[in-house]
Amino acid sequence: MTAALNDEQEVDATLRAVLRDVLGLPEAQVAALDESSPLFGALPEFDSMAVAGLLTELEERLGILIEDHEVDADMLESFGSLLTFARSKTLQ
């Protein structure tokens, strides 16, 4: 596994790219997400299968390992909560 990322902007960009690629969202919609944008339960594309794919893609692209007990509705609630989680795993 390659070394973890160490730049906040890079984590932000990676998370947006994963949302675009996994959910098949248009570029403009992904670019417009801000910290308060709701995700799980708010986007029809974001179903439970997509959550599994999202987590694995994040692991592969950020070089992190996400434990099942770390995954819950709060962490997936908004773009901001997911970003906070990804940064906390990545920037240690």
Binding site: V22, A50, G63
Partner: protein
């Protein structure tokens, strides 16, 4: 002009006939699809790549692994060993000079004389994916693999050594001989295709197969 028609043919695995889709004529390539749900999501992509390779003078085979597609066996009764053996048997029936695998298909290409891999995944990561999808969807999605299959999968790694070319998406941070732009179609809940990605894959397979003297 080569025969670009689509045909279905059999191969033997575990004492039974299983199906293979065949497109084109020329040197034979064995396609090994991704596993489980990812297989359905990428079938259109693989068929597109096979058609492009037919135009370049290759004969491509895409087997249904036991317990998947048109197979009459139940997935619950299939072991990891069965899949390894059936991939080898399909390659032999096809007379394949090389394999072309996607994602978890790379875990089954050990018997092929030369191996082209796109976004190869290790078994542990795929097993974790399955477990997660199962946790979050009641009933675990469309597939119910046996514990024996899952155990074998979790320990499987793409076989090193021999003639191997590894290609990945540009968004993947792992090492590769070549990186291509494109979406990870195996993640999409709705099966989709990408003309650009199919073009790029077929073009690299063609160059690789010719440069290493496979045809």
């Amino acid at each position: 002009m080569s025969d670009s028609g689509l045909h279905y043919t059999h191969y033997r695995a575990g004492g039974r006939d299983e199906w293979m889709m065949r497109i084109g004529s020329g040197p034979a390539l064995l396609f090994l699809p991704p596993l489980f749900e990812e297989m359905n999501r990428t079938r259109a992509l693989l068929a597109s790549v096979m058609r492009r390779l037919a135009a370049e003078g290759f004969r491509s085979f895409l087997p249904d692994l036991p317990g998947t597609g048109e197979s009459e066996r139940a997935l619950e009764e299939v072991s990891w060993r069965d899949w390894l053996d059936s991939a080898a048997s399909a390659g032999e029936s096809a007379g394949a000079v090389a394999s072309v695998s996607l994602r978890g298909g790379a875990l089954l290409d050990g018997a092929a004389p030369a191996r082209w891999r796109f976004a190869p995944a290790n078994g542990a990561s795929l097993a974790r994916d399955l477990a997660r999808a199962g946790l979050m969807t009641e009933g675990g999605g469309g597939y119910a693999p046996s514990q024996a299959l899952l155990d074998g999968l979790a320990e499987a790694e793409p076989e090193a050594g021999g003639t191997v070319r590894t290609v990945r998406l540009s968004t993947d941070r792992a090492e590769a001989d070549l990186k291509l732009e494109g979406p990870p179609l195996w993640r999409r809940a709705e099966p989709q295709n990408s003309t650009e990605l199919a073009d790029a894959m077929a073009s690299d397979i063609t160059q690789w197969a010719r440069s290493c003297g496979l045809c």
